[in-house]
C-alpha cells in the first residue's frame, strides 16, 4: 500500500471527539479499578487483614520419589526407600521453649539433649532443621505425633532415601548421589539446595529424568504454628525409571573375573625371577572389563576394579573412607577414564589401513607376500635420524610372515615396515596421517559419546597435534616435531597414543559390523514408575566408515587365528568347543620407569569378539600394569566368553607371556 498524495479536501468537523470518547471509556475503566480497590482495601480491608493474619501459609515441599534404576531384565539396582525423619521448623518453634522441646524430644528418642541440640543448631534459626542420623521407628513416630501439642514445630516426615540393593555391583555405572555443589545448581534446571542430586554415573547423567518434580502442601497456620486448615496440595511427580542395557548377572560374573585377573597377575609376578631390583614390578591393583553389543552399541557389562559402594554416599560419606577410596582410584571408571597405550591391539587399525590403502612393507605388494620377522629392525629416515628397534621376540627372529601371520603373531617388525612405507611415500603430505584418520574414524582420540559423565577422549598423535603442543605445552614434545619414529611407535599402539577401553571396544565393534560406529550406551529406556516405556534411547548410529567387506572378512579370519594358533592360543586352550567361535587380539603396553624412578609393569590388553560367524559381542579386558596381554588379559576374556556362551566358567590360568 503506497502512501497517498495529501488530500486537499479537509473534513470541516473536528473529529477529535472520537478520541475523547475513548478517553471517557478508559477513565471509566480505571475508575472502576479505583472503586473496587477502595472496596477491597478500605471497606472490607479489615476482614481480609484478619484473614491474612490467620493466613500465615505454611508451605511444605513434598519431595518427589526419585526414579529407580533397573538392569535390562528389570532387576532393581537403585531405588528410593521411605525413611522417617524428624524435622523442626525453627520459624514456628518459639525460642523461649526451644530448650524444653529439645529435652522432651531427647527423652522420646532416648538420646542426650546435647546431641539433639547440636543437630538442631546445624540449621540456622528460622529454617527447617532435619534431624538426620537419629534412629526412628514407627513407634517413636507415633509417640511424637501424639505429643504434638507440647512439641510445637516438630514434625515427622517420610523422606525417601537412596538404596542400592546389590551393594557395590555396577557401582561405577550407577554412580552416587550427593548434595548439589554450586556447579550442580548452575547445571541443573530445578535443583533444591537440600535435595541430593546425581554426582557420578547414571545417577548424574540421567538426573533430570530420575529427579521428578517435588510437590507442596499449603496449610493455613496460626501464629502458634497450629494447622488451621489444609489449603491445597500439589502432588509431586515421581521420577522416571531408567532401564539399563547392562545385565546384572553378567556384570556380577565380570566383576568377579576382574578380581581373579588381578590375583592371577600378582601370582605370575610372584613367580617371575627378576635380577634387577629396580625392575621388580609393584603389585597389580586395577583392572577393567566391558562387554558391548557389536550391532547396537548397548553395553551389557562394564566393570572397573577397585570399586565402591554407592550407598556409602547416602547421608554423607566420611572423610577417611572417601580418602582411602580416592587413593586407590576407586572412583575412576577405568573403562571410560583409564587412558593407556592400546599397544598391539592397535595393530588391527594398522592392518585395516594397510589392506584398504594397499600399503605394505617395501617390496611387498599383497597381504599374502612375506618378509622376515627379524629380531630387530634398523631404520634410516629421510630426516637423517636413525633408530634401532627390537621385536618382542628378541633375540630370536620369528620366521617369514605375511600380514596375516604378523597379525596372529603380533610381529612388530612387519607393522613397522608398513609405517616406513607410509613415511617414505607420504611424509609431509596430506596423506601422512592415514593411519590416524582410520583410527579417528573408528572412534579413537575423540569422545565415544557414551551416556556417562567424565569420559576421557584420549590422545591420537599426528603432526598437527605436535605443532599445537609446541605452541601450548612445549615440554611435552621434542623440538624436531613429528618424526618417522613417532609413526612407527603409533602403528603398534605405543608412543603418542592413549585410549580408553571403551574407545577400543567401539573401534573393534565398528570394524566387525562392517563400518557402523554406534554410540555406546548404558541406558536402554526411560520408563514411568509403573514400567510404561516413555522413551527408547538407542541404538544411535554416529557415523559409518567405508570399509570393504573383504578386509572385514580377512580380519575376522585372522582374529580367529590369534585365538586358535596365535598369541592368545594358550589362554583359550581350555575353553572347549566354543573356542572356534572366538576371535581377538592381544596387547601388551611397554613397561617403563617414570620420572621418579618408579618401575611400571606392562599393561595387559585383550579385545575379543564372538561368535565370529556373525559377531555379536565385543569383550575388552585391560589389567593396569598387570603384565602380558596374552598371559593375563586373554584368560580373563576367555572366562567372560565362557559365561556368554552359557558354559561352565573355569578358573583363570596363565596364558602365554608374549609381546614383552
Amino acid at each position: 500500500m503506497r502512501e497517498q498524495p495529501p488530500q486537499p479536501i479537509r473534513e470541516p468537523r473536528n473529529l477529535s471527539w472520537r478520541v475523547g470518547v475513548l478517553a471517557v471509556i478508559f477513565t471509566v475503566g480505571l475508575s472502576l479499578l479505583f472503586f473496587r480497590l477502595w472496596y477491597v482495601q478500605l471497606a472490607t480491608g479489615e476482614v481480609w487483614a484478619r484473614e491474612a493474619d490467620q493466613n500465615i501459609v505454611s508451605v511444605e515441599p513434598i519431595p518427589a520419589r526419585r526414579g529407580d534404576i533397573v538392569d535390562r531384565n528389570g532387576l532393581l539396582l537403585a531405588t528410593s526407600v521411605p525413611n522417617l525423619v524428624i524435622e523442626i521448623d525453627r520459624a514456628v518453634l518459639p525460642l523461649e521453649v526451644e530448650d524444653e522441646v529439645i529435652q522432651r524430644l531427647a527423652a522420646i528418642l532416648d538420646v542426650s539433649p546435647v546431641e539433639v541440640r547440636q543437630a538442631v543448631e546445624r540449621t540456622p534459626s528460622g529454617q527447617v532443621a532435619s534431624l538426620i542420623g537419629f534412629e526412628i521407628n514407627a513407634d517413636t513416630a507415633y509417640l511424637i505425633l501424639e505429643q504434638r501439642s507440647t512439641l510445637p514445630g516438630v514434625e515427622v516426615r517420610a523422606l525417601p532415601i537412596r538404596g542400592y540393593p546389590n551393594s557395590s555391583l555396577m557401582g561405577h555405572v550407577l554412580g552416587h548421589m550427593g548434595l548439589p555443589s554450586p556447579e550442580d545448581l548452575e547445571r541443573l534446571t530445578t535443583p533444591y539446595i537440600d535435595t541430593p542430586v546425581g554426582k557420578l554415573g547414571v545417577e548424574r547423567e540421567y538426573d533430570p529424568f530420575l529427579q521428578g518434580t517435588p510437590g507442596k502442601t499449603a496449610y493455613r497456620i496460626d501464629p502458634e504454628g497450629n494447622i488451621l486448615e489444609l489449603i491445597g496440595t500439589v502432588d509431586p511427580v515421581p521420577g522416571s525409571t531408567v532401564r539399563l542395557t547392562l545385565d546384572a548377572d553378567l556384570q556380577r560374573e565380570v566383576e568377579r573375573i576382574l578380581i581373579e585377573a588381578v590375583d592371577l597377575s600378582n601370582a605370575i609376578k610372584a613367580e617371575q625371577e627378576i635380577t634387577d631390583p629396580d625392575e621388580i614390578p609393584p603389585p597389580t591393583e586395577r583392572s577393567t572389563a566391558l562387554v558391548m553389543e557389536i550391532n547396537t552399541g548397548a553395553i551389557r557389562a562394564m566393570a572397573s576394579y577397585p570399586t565402591f559402594e554407592p550407598e556409602g554416599f547416602v547421608g554423607g560419606i566420611d572423610v577417611e573412607t572417601f580418602e582411602e577410596l580416592s587413593d586407590r582410584q576407586a572412583f575412576n571408571n577405568l573403562a571410560i577414564q583409564g587412558l593407556k597405550p592400546p599397544a598391539s591391539t592397535f595393530k588391527t587399525i594398522t592392518y585395516v589401513t594397510a589392506m584398504e590403502e594397499s600399503i605394505f612393507p617395501e617390496g611387498v605388494s599383497s597381504p599374502e607376500e612375506t618378509i622376515e620377522c627379524s629380531a630387530r629392525l634398523s631404520a634410516d629416515f629421510t630426516d637423517d635420524s636413525q633408530l634401532l628397534w627390537r621385536n618382542w621376540t628378541f633375540p630370536e627372529a620369528d620366521g617369514d610372515q605375511n600380514l596375516h601371520d604378523a597379525f596372529r603373531r603380533s610381529c612388530n617388525i612387519y607393522f613397522w615396515e608398513v609405517a616406513l612405507s607410509i613415511w617414505d611415500r607420504y611424509a609431509r603430505t596430506d596423506r601422512e596421517g592415514i593411519v590416524q584418520e582410520w583410527a579417528s574414524a573408528l572412534g579413537l582420540g575423540r569422545p565415544t559419546q557414551v551416556d556417562l559423565p567424565f569420559e576421557q577422549e584420549g590422545i591420537l598423535g599426528n603432526r598437527q597435534l605436535f605443532e599445537e603442543w609446541q605452541e601450548n605445552q612445549p615440554w611435552r614434545v621434542r623440538q624436531e616435531g613429528w618424526l618417522g619414529g613417532d609413526l612407527m611407535n603409533l602403528v603398534v599402539g605405543q608412543g603418542p597414543i592413549v585410549t580408553t577401553p571403551l574407545q577400543m571396544a567401539v573401534a573393534y565393534a565398528s570394524l566387525m559390523n562392517g563400518g557402523s560406529v554406534y554410540q555406546p550406551r548404558v541406558a536402554e529406556a526411560i520408563e514411568t514408575a509403573e514400567g510404561e516405556r516413555i522413551r527408547t534411547l538407542g541404538p544411535r548410529l554416529l557415523r559409518t566408515v567405508d570399509i570393504s567387506p573383504s578386509t572385514v572378512e580377512s580380519l575376522r579370519r585372522d582374529m580367529t587365528a590369534v585365538v586358535s594358533s596365535g598369541t592368545a592360543r594358550r589362554a583359550f586352550q581350555d575353553m572347549g568347543p566354543m573356542v572356534d567361535l572366538v576371535g581377538g587380539k592381544t596387547g601388551t603396553a611397554q613397561s617403563f620407569v617414570d620420572q621418579e624412578g618408579q618401575f611400571h609393569d606392562s599393561t595387559a590388553w585383550f579385545i575379543g569378539m564372538a561368535p565370529m560367524d556373525s559377531p555379536r559381542w565385543v569383550v575388552v579386558v585391560m589389567v593396569d600394569e598387570g603384565g602380558s596381554g596374552g598371559a593375563v588379559a586373554a584368560p580373563a576374556a576367555r572366562a567372560i566368553f565362557q559365561y556368554l556362551f552359557g558354559e561352565e566358567v573355569i578358573p583363570l590360568a596363565p596364558g602365554e607371556d608374549t609381546e614383552r
Partner: protein, 391 residues
C-alpha cells in the same frame, strides 16, 4: 520531513531558530518508575524462596532489571526512528508477525500452552510483539482514507488483518491476548471514523461470536472454569478460585497504608501462583496499601492520557491511530490485570505493563510507546495545527 519541507518553502524560516520538540520526559519517567517498582516488587516476593532454593535471593530481580534496561533502550531507539518509516514496511512487518505467531505453535508446550519460543536462556513470546506490530499495520491500513467515513471494504480488510493473528493467538491458546487484539481493533476502527451502523454490526457479531465459543466447546475447559468460577467466587476455594481468593486476601490486607515493604506475609510466602508475572499487583496492594495501589493506577492514567494527547496532536492519521492503538493496549492490560487481582474480571493471563516479570511484554510495550514518542517529537513545534489528514 514535514518540518524540512516547511522550512525549505520559506514559510517557516524562523522555525530553524526554535527548539525542536523535546521528547516526552514525563512519559519516560513514568515508564522507568513503573519498571523500578516492578523490580522491587519481584524481589519482595521471590527473595525468600530463591534464597532457600538456590542461595541467591536476587536472581529474579536482576533478570528483570536486565529486561527493564533493554526496554528503556528500545524505547529510546524507537523514539529516534521516524515512525513514518513503518508505513512503508507494513507488509514485511505483517509477514514477520504472522510468521512468529505461526512458528510458536510448534514450540514445546509449557503450562499447557505454546506461547514461548526459547531463544538462548530467554523465552521469547511472539504474541507480545505481535500486538504492537498489529497496531502499526492497522494504523497504516486505516490511515489513508481521510475526510470520509470508513468504507466497508477497508473495514473488512482491517478486520481480516486483525483476525488472522487473532486466530493464531487463540490456537496457542491465549484467550487474554486475543481479547486485547479485539479491543485494540475496535478502538482503532472507532477513531478511524467507522459509522454508528458499522460499530453496531461489529458489536452484534462480537456477542454472537462469544456466545458461540461457549456453546461450541471451543474454549479449553480451564478457560470455561475460570469464567464460571468468576461468577461464583465462594465455590471451590482450593481449586479455580485459589488465585483469586489468595490475591484478594493479599491486596485487601494492605488496607490504607499497606504492611510496608518486605512486611507482606502473603506475597513473601509466595503462594500466589504467577506471583511475579500476572499477579505482581498483589505485591503492591499488600505492601503499599490503597495509597500505593491508587498511585500506581494514577501513574497508568497519566501515561494513557499522555498517549491520547499525542493522538490528538499528531500531524497525520497514521500517528493518531498508532497512539490510539497503544492507548487501547495499555488501558486494556491495566484494567484486566488489576481487575483480575481484585476480583473485578475473570482470571486471564495478561501482564501488567512494565511491572510484570518477563522480557517480551516489557520490550514490546516500550517499543510501542517509543513509536508514540516519535509521533510526539515530529509534531509542530509552534503549536499551530498541521494539515492533518484527519481533522
Amino acid at each position: 520531513m514535514m518540518l524540512g519541507d516547511r522550512s525549505r518553502s520559506g514559510v517557516g524560516g524562523i522555525l530553524e531558530d526554535r527548539p525542536r520538540p523535546v521528547p516526552d520526559v514525563l512519559m519516560f519517567l513514568i515508564i522507568a518508575g513503573l519498571m523500578a517498582l516492578g523490580s522491587v516488587m519481584i524481589y519482595s516476593s521471590t527473595y525468600i524462596r530463591l534464597d532457600e532454593e538456590t542461595g541467591d535471593p536476587g536472581s529474579a530481580m536482576r533478570k528483570q532489571l536486565v529486561f527493564a534496561v533493554a526496554g528503556l533502550v528500545t524505547y529510546l531507539v524507537c523514539s529516534m526512528v521516524d515512525y513514518r518509516l513503518y508505513r512503508r514496511f507494513q507488509v514485511p512487518i505483517y509477514i514477520c508477525l504472522m510468521l512468529a505467531l505461526f512458528l510458536v505453535l510448534f514450540a514445546s508446550p509449557q503450562k499447557g500452552a505454546t506461547r514461548w519460543i526459547p531463544v538462548g536462556p530467554f523465552q521469547f513470546q511472539p504474541s507480545e510483539f505481535a500486538k504492537v506490530a498489529l497496531i502499526v499495520v492497522l494504523a497504516a491500513l486505516l490511515a489513508p482514507e481521510a475526510g470520509r467515513l470508513l468504507t466497508w471494504k477497508r473495514l473488512g480488510r482491517a478486520l481480516l488483518a486483525a483476525a488472522l493473528p487473532g486466530f493464531l493467538i487463540f490456537r496457542q491458546p491465549d484467550l487474554g491476548t486475543m481479547l486485547v487484539v479485539g479491543f485494540i481493533t475496535i478502538g482503532m476502527l472507532f477513531v478511524a471514523r467507522s459509522s454508528i451502523r458499522q460499530m453496531l454490526v461489529l458489536g452484534v457479531a462480537g456477542v454472537v461470536g462469544a456466545f458461540a465459543m461457549f456453546q461450541l466447546d471451543i474454549l479449553r475447559s480451564y478457560q470455561a472454569n475460570r469464567l464460571s468460577g468468576f461468577f461464583d467466587q465462594t465455590a471451590d476455594l482450593q481449586g479455580v478460585n485459589w488465585n483469586l481468593n489468595q490475591s484478594q486476601i493479599a491486596i485487601g490486607s494492605g488496607q490504607l497504608f499497606g504492611r510496608g515493604l518486605f512486611q507482606g506475609t502473603q506475597t513473601r510466602l509466595s503462594f500466589i501462583p504467577s506471583q511475579t508475572t500476572d499477579f505482581i499487583f498483589t505485591a503492591v496492594g499488600e505492601q503499599f496499601g490503597f495509597i500505593g495501589s491508587a498511585a500506581v493506577i494514577l501513574a497508568y492514567a497519566i501515561l494513557i492520557w499522555r498517549v491520547l494527547i499525542v493522538a490528538i496532536g499528531s500531524p497525520n492519521a497514521f500517528g493518531t491511530l498508532i497512539s490510539v492503538g497503544m492507548a487501547s493496549l495499555l488501558s486494556f492490560h491495566v484494567f484486566v490485570n488489576i481487575g483480575m487481582t481484585v476480583g473485578l474480571v475473570p482470571v486471564t493471563g495478561l501482564p501488567l505493563p512494565f511491572m510484570s516479570a518477563g522480557g517480551s511484554a516489557m520490550i514490546a510495550m516500550s517499543g510501542g510507546l517509543g513509536i508514540v514518542n516519535s509521533v510526539w517529537r515530529s509534531r509542530s513545534p509552534v503549536g499551530e495545527r498541521e494539515p492533518n489528514d484527519f481533522w
